[in-house]
Symmetry: C2
Subunit: 405 residues, 2 copies
Amino acid sequence: MSGFSFRTSHDQGLARLGWFGTPHGVVETPAFMPVGTHASVRGLAMHEIADAGAQMVLANAYHLYLRPGDVMVRALGGIHAFSRWAGPMLTDSGGYQVFSLARYRTVREQGVEFKSKIDGSLHQYTPERVMQIERNIGADVIMQLDELIAGGSEQSASRAAMERSLRWLERCRSEFDRLSREGRADAPVLSVPDGAPALQTHDIDRDRAAPAQALFPIVQGGVYPALRRASMDGILQSGDWVGIAVGGLSVGEAKSAMYDTVDECAVMLPRDRPRYLMGVGFPDDLVEAVARGMDLFDCVAPTRMGRHGTAFTPDGKVQVLKSSYRTDRRALVAECACPACSHYDRAYLRHLFAVEEPLGPRLLALHNLTFLMDVMRQTRAALRDGVFARWSEGWLARYRAADRR
Amino acid sequence: MSGFSFRTSHDQGLARLGWFGTPHGVVETPAFMPVGTHASVRGLAMHEIADAGAQMVLANAYHLYLRPGDVMVRALGGIHAFSRWAGPMLTDSGGYQVFSLARYRTVREQGVEFKSKIDGSLHQYTPERVMQIERNIGADVIMQLDELIAGGSEQSASRAAMERSLRWLERCRSEFDRLSREGRADAPVLSVPDGAPALQTHDIDRDRAAPAQALFPIVQGGVYPALRRASMDGILQSGDWVGIAVGGLSVGEAKSAMYDTVDECAVMLPRDRPRYLMGVGFPDDLVEAVARGMDLFDCVAPTRMGRHGTAFTPDGKVQVLKSSYRTDRRALVAECACPACSHYDRAYLRHLFAVEEPLGPRLLALHNLTFLMDVMRQTRAALRDGVFARWSEGWLARYRAADRR
């Protein structure tokens, strides 16, 4: 666990202010992590993500394994050098993508076999293989391979997937540890096309050594409290984890079921480790989850919704194409410092979407990210000031008032 | 012509260094103007255009007339306030768009009738109407309505279009002058949708007064020297123009025919007025046209080609998807200061295009614009230093060397 640390202060109920130290810097928690699936947050430059207040960025091992290839990312200096994000990074294993995107897939105890949606080629995704891939890519935090099932699955299916995920966690950890001890496989010699310079000569010993990384297990078990407890039991008995993720939520279950499950997990998870709630990224869900003791979050919703014309505001979500914006020269959100709000007005933003100019999706995606970063900054300030309960009540009431009207 | 000025210095052959003063600032010429069709340079923010070195930006009267409407742009404070480009701007009349994009069009002496490609609605585009539209939009320089015909047209068709364009120029000028004297029509009361604030109250007298603008005539006549001379004769006899444009080139004719036509025009056009060569924007064409006495340029090519993965470099055009870039960690163009070249490497740029991340088109469009701005800066420096002929010979030889290999 060298290079990693976590300390908290200012607990209020289950919520807490934290500092998650990684080999590439410290993340002040609660924190939202923008998703850079292909080592790029869709349409946005890394300096814009940084200006928006991002501290840690996600990438996806499945997508990078397919293109440009994990070995290529390693040869190009690792994910930080490749993407030019110098701060902390995390790769999801890509399990979700294997289960949802691959054209054909066969799940066995050994792992998942799937055909690439790009060229139909056949791939084996085993816990061991995923560790090799994620250690080649080189993010600070890497996620285990878990078995994903559809939201709303029966308890028996949820149990089977949860139990398999625990077995796969064991195999992930063994391979992760083996790679730490023995180093990574020698990088295969990459063919360099005509006219290209040779890749810079790596220090072979240094290149073999696996980078300092932390493996996070993922709590599964659907919306069934007993299964969630069993999942956590298994995880906690099997190792001393740097941090622990809660997965399988925000997949169509009722909000109350999601909050209840988070409650269930928060009580049982060790308080001295960061908790990462996967795939949750609506503003009000973040505030609710912080109140329930979660520290890290990611979701494509803010950028995806922005690209499709929905903006987050302190008064709830807004469609930027709404007719009242046609003549509205005010900033989208007066108190927001993002480029959309500081340089342009609602009439112009609406116009960009009306004529399908790509600056519109870009500006609104960055606005939504900035908005989430601001919400996280406000949660941290409220925790520091000891007013989180009061602050979150007021914030949620205002955010949700429009929905109730 | 209040608010406009032009002076030149450092003539070398037909090439010259110039300063074109407009109500919104001075443009150092030779200069390339990025095209912001819908008051947005596709995918790029105005501050990026400014950082790239742009001095003057184009918008398109046809597109803005359809959406959001010229009256709406005026009500929102005019094109500068609307687009947040504080510097000089120019609107093309949209004649090209009417002739090439409209679903149905009927050309008569009175003007053009066309159906909108957006909703099928019927529109009249007469010289008078176009002047009213461009004066509502409020760019510094506005273009006459001219009749466009297909590149490679017969001499008789070219003559007829050229002569009609001269008659339309007369009507444009009359209406332009009338609007200067009498002011613009009272802005119709715009319906303000429910929940929208009223538009800010304008000073009605000030709003009626037409902004300080210059109307540019357009030399037509295809690739026929006699027609070009007749067009220029007509233009020069009909008024004392702030600047003059050369149109109808770069529409499929041979490069040599284009250069010959520019030569023909440059000799005859008054030396003390800026010359705007419309629609020309490949790097080598710009250098050739500067040598032939042209001062202002516009073209969608740099941004469009960038979006489609073609980058301008000092050694010619490059496809960013080329296989040798797969492992190439060098900057796209070492001496370029654009974000693509200063933050990222070729391997990452190639990856962005390979996985169709929208950051790729955005970065490459900005790179190509920056590249053209740099070429223009180099032409100005070479003129100032009295070495333009030698500089352009060397620059063109290097740029074209790859094509000859």
